[in-house]
Amino acid sequence: MPFLASDRWQRENRRDEDRPLVFVAKAKGVSQLAAVDARARSLGLQSGMALADARARLPSVRAIAADPSADAAFIERLADLAVAFTPSVALDPPDGLALDITGCSHLFAGEATLAAHLQKVLSTAGVSVVKLAVAPTPDMARALARFSRTNPCFADDDERVRALPVAALECAPEDATALKRAGLKTVADVADRPSLLFAARFTSAFTAKLGRVLGEEDRRISPLREPAAYRAEQRCAEPVASHDVIAGMLAELATSVCDQLVARSVGGRIFEGTFLRADGAVRRIRVETSSPTRHPDVILRLHRDRLDALADPLDPGFGFDLICFEAMRVEPWIESQGTFSAQDDQKDEIAQLVDRLSTMFGRERVMRLQPIDSHIPERAQAVIPAVLPAPPHEWARHMVDSTASLRPPLIYPRPHPIDVEADDNARPKSVRWRRVMHRIANAIGPERIAEEWWRSPSGYGTRDYYRVESSEGRRFWIFRAAATAGGERQKWFLHGVFP
């Protein structure tokens, strides 16, 4: 897609600019052209030129600041669309997409129709010029798409690629100049000579690239999203917009994925539904379960809960073209014999409840507490999402022998600064918290807690904790920060409240 940046700009600004467009970025202190549009290209401008040179040649040119992140977002959207053709889609920087269509082309009655379809989809999405090439290896396709004059270009062997100029090898500019000076103009000129020569003159990376472009060496693309091993998709002849039909299709797909899971004796933890709308919008809905699942009913129920919880519901618009359902993460399924114990049933039921709640409110809002071996109070526990499998742990230590170092059931994540009046022995006499004065009738402490020197400091130094009770029966857990430091002005904090 040679004019990606201008296509993106036209699409965003929705107007036709009659002047040639160039996209400018600073490089080495000079404003350089990062990209040009078709008109500017035909008038002789190229990316890499200095803006001043371009202006000198074409005073009418319109310069726009390049926006690489917007371009990247645009191309990722296009990559989403390409998922309709193959699950394995990769970005081919800076302005291309690589699709692994191995085993996919027969679904479209051949490569030519597939290419035509892709061309149509991309031009609907706003790409003005698409250069397509189909070749046995990704590097050969890349060279053909960028440097071949035929479009779309189909290559079964290296014949076409050999006719390309040496620039198709995409070596460094000085290497390209060196090749030209040696009289080597096409890829064939280079390929026909022993590669040892080039390895000695240039580097072995050059010969490796040559081998890949010629298709002698294959390198697989690394797809944006790893295609799931367990997936089912339904392509619609006509876009479907009816909710009932969509739900029915989804149920079928989920059943099919679950059958695949059963066949491999695994269960899924994360499931994702992908919805491709006729106008090119892509929507992904993901649900997660706390234990491996392969019951379509459970998954579909979670899916419905997720949809209900979304602020923007799944809008079919003019209908969905393609619905795809995948198990993104699977775990071995441990076949368990149904027991008669009610306890196992309850465990399952609670796991399902946790799944539902996590889907409705987000996994980080449904939590479990986990003990951590630390004597700094706020570090003694971890809050983990309840959908994660709970590692075995022991709270028992806190249940016995806690009279000496009693902790409140609720603590403030950031201790509240309070005003404390203390007597000569530094025991608190009165506490002012949230603008209310509490006279202390009873104080138990101090319980001294030192910093853990092997970890980063907590910010409060050595603390002296007191459990204090006011004359009305309010019970607080307060501490004096930097207790060993001394000094006139002591800093006190309220860390928690006992019920």
Binding site: L353, V354, V366, P371, R407, P409, L410, I411, P413, E472
Partner: protein
């Protein structure tokens, strides 16, 4: 002197509400958790059932984060506790309703700052009656606006007699009860070891409505 739980005597009381006296939000939360723990341990002495603790985000700001070591010392096993921090009061009600429908749960505690109206509480009550899960509503403030709760107390802290602040004392006033003991004031202590409330002062225990009648 242990007091038997509600579910032992009156199985029908599944929706109870605790209203915090002004400034005693954490106390009300503690009392609500204690009620839930008592219900769970009385219903199934042999095993630990799960407690679902739904907290509105505004309530978390007021009372602080749940703290495992402290909960363990209070008699509530943190590993048997699922905590939800709901963004809004509507989310909190939805989560509590979802929990009330799950019969495998031991109890649901719903901690809210916003009032719980008649419709929402009635929905909770119906779900609880179907599944048999006890629900404790904890309101951090307000006056106990009318809703479907069968029992309602206002709770505040009471000075502890002794025991180096180990046992927690609560002062409670009945705001609503089926037996018409409204306005009665009593003080109970929470026994975290035996997971039940005990009498703190020389008040005849039958007179503490909702907590239960005197048991041997």
């Amino acid at each position: 002197m242990p007091l038997s739980s509600i579910s032992a005597g009156k199985a029908s009381v599944l929706l109870r509400e605790v209203v915090a006296a002004p400034g005693h939000a954490s106390v009300a939360v503690g009392f609500g958790l204690a009620l839930a723990v008592q219900t769970i341990s009385a219903a199934s002495a042999s095993r630990a059932a799960t407690l679902l603790w739904v907290r509105e985000a505004a309530a978390v700001v007021e009372t602080g984060d749940a703290y495992g070591p402290g909960l363990a010392a209070f008699g509530l096993s943190p590993s048997g506790c699922i905590i939800i921090e709901a963004r809004t009061s509507v989310d909190a009600l939805r989560a509590a309703l979802e929990g009330a429908r799950c019969a495998a749960l031991g109890a649901v505690v719903l901690e809210m700052r916003a009032p719980i109206d008649l419709t929402a509480s009635r929905r909770l009550k119906l779900a609880a009656e179907k599944s048999g899960v006890a629900i404790v509503l904890v309101r951090l403030g307000g006056h106990g606006e009318p809703n479907a709760a069968q029992l309602r107390w206002r709770v505040q802290a009471a000075p502890q007699a002794s025991d180096r602040m180990r046992r927690t004392a609560f002062e409670m006033i009945v705001l609503k009860s089926p037996s018409g003991l409204d306005g009665r004031r009593s003080i109970v202590e929470w026994d975290h070891d035996r997971k039940c409330f005990t009498q703190a002062l020389s008040v005849p225990m039958d007179a503490v409505p909702g907590i239960g009648s005197l048991a041997a």
